[in-house]
């Protein structure tokens, strides 16, 4: 049953040093506020799992939270490199980062298999590609009916899954709309979970009979963080701050400017700053 906590309490009680942690959200609903809180609480040696490491993992890696990254595409979408991620891989700064690299198809299937309680995902994948030679977690099975060789990857079953969503109701059920990504899968696949939401409502009210809802009993800690996905976005609430994604390229390029930005915008503030940032994007959208 989901417990309504402050974000600080949620991270404190759910995320431990050394955990495998998946903060998911495919461009949409990226749990930036939760990522910042993990940084503020100084978590170390995390295995960070995420299809698109993105700004959120650039920040966590640059601040030294990560020992390993499991991912399928590590860039700043539409902009370019993740400079902190590259600095860790290429130069070992702030310390070396192990990587386990997959394709999107494999990771999406692996989350699906994790949610389904299976030990592996099977896909027609990686044919003629270089990754199987460098990632021992890409194996194969042979179809007993057709003889076809298919790729197999371990299902993803993180210690902790973290997502952001539109809203929860008083009972603690969570509603997700728009680009739903692997949001539902990562919560169902994880041993523990944190869900941040824009708001808590009395009841969801009229909705599609097939709305994407995580029932309260599948959710761990629940925290209300308005704007918690900024500079990503929350469908129905505020837009993506595409300009910030471009600005990040400059901030992150240099170690000093990165550290200064993190101090001013993460270490010295709290999750309450997200509401104002999202408000700005709401106005921009109107």
């Amino acid at each position: 049953m989901s417990r309504l906590l402050s974000l600080a309490e949620a991270v404190e009680s759910v995320v431990h040093d050394g955990d495998s942690v998946a903060l998911e959200g495919f461009t949409h609903l990226i749990p930036h506020a939760a990522g910042h809180e993990i940084i503020r609480q100084g978590r170390k040696r995390l295995t960070l799992i995420r299809m698109t490491p993105d700004l959120i993992y650039d920040q966590m890696i640059g601040m030294g939270c990560a020992e390993k990254a499991v991912f399928s595409w590590g860039g700043n979408p539409g902009v370019g490199s993740l400079h902190r991620f590259r600095d860790a891989v290429e130069n070992g700064w702030p310390h070396p980062l192990k990587i386990e690299e997959h394709s999107h198809a494999a990771m999406a299937n692996a989350y699906e298999a994790g949610a389904a309680g299976l030990p592996l995902a099977v896909l027609r994948g990686y044919i003629g590609a270089g990754l199987p030679a460098v990632n021992p977690n890409i194996k194969s099975i042979v179809c007993p009916f057709t003889g076809e060789k298919l790729a197999a990857v371990p299902s993803i079953r993180p210690d902790v899954g973290v997502i952001h969503a539109q809203k929860a109701d008083r009972a603690g059920n969570v509603l997700i709309e728009g680009i739903v990504g692997v949001q539902k899968e990562v919560v169902l696949a994880s041993k523990r979970s944190i869900v941040t939401v824009e708001e808590v409502v009395e009841e969801f009210g009229p909705r599609s009979p097939n709305a994407t809802i995580l029932p309260a009993w599948t959710v761990g800690a629940l925290a209300v963080v308005p704007g918690g996905a900024y500079p990503s976005y929350t469908f129905g609430y505020y837009k993506r701050d595409n300009a910030f994604y471009k600005t990040w390229d400059t901030i992150a390029k240099d170690r000093d400017s990165f550290v200064a930005w993190m101090k001013a915008n993460v270490l010295d503030v709290g999750p309450e700053v997200f509401a104002a940032q999202a408000r700005k994007m709401l106005q921009a959208a109107e």
Binding site: T27, W73, P77, S81, S103, A105, G130, E148
Partner: protein
Amino acid sequence: MADYKPNEMMTVAAARALRNEDVCFVGIGMPSAAANLARLTHAPDIVLIYESGTLGTKPTVLPLSIGDPELCETALTTVSVPEMFRYWLQGGRITVGFLGGAQIDKHANLNTTVVGPYDKPKVRLPGGGGAPEIATSCGEIFIIMAQGKRAFVPKLDFVTSLGHGEGGDHRARLGVKTKGPTRLMTDLAVFEPEPGSNEMIVTSLHPGVTREQIVENTGWPVRFAATVAETPPPTKIELEALRDLQARTARAHGAAA
């Protein structure tokens, strides 16, 4: 005919290759510009799919990321990412996939993973994302890449996604039933696979481009088709549609700052 830049010629050439009846798996950047240009000009019914799960999307501005709000707001519907990769891509429902990369070889294999050794990379690139399965699951593959010797290399540092492998029937020998790269659009020319060898050869030069320019900007001993066409330059309609799209996009992304 208006003045245009080589990048515009490349995007227009890519757009023209798309058909009204195509179902296109679109990547961010030039593929997105080309696919939407096609939709706004000669292929109004083309189905655009982005890997974020948006099916049949019709954005009025180009997305910066693969999952910008516009994509979902204008889509017929949006499915989960596992479903996108299972039912739609692996299910064989996509006729054309667009790819690009940091490096390409003469058989149109692509590298977007690393420059240098994998374990100790000189440059760590973003990685494959959807590409390894896009490359084998889509009916055919169109590639858009600006030409240059650092990108058009004799040997890839890493094979992120399969093109024609070692050439010939290599794809078929790997059990792959799709066509692979059928067209490579650069800022200088159009390449197509030579029947039999499946080596990418120049079949059309963009207006004003010389064979020498192609040779200088290709890292392998580039070959030309028996008959090399000249790419028709962008029409006024194409250029206006492309520039309008890019102006709207710049305003939309800038305005958010």
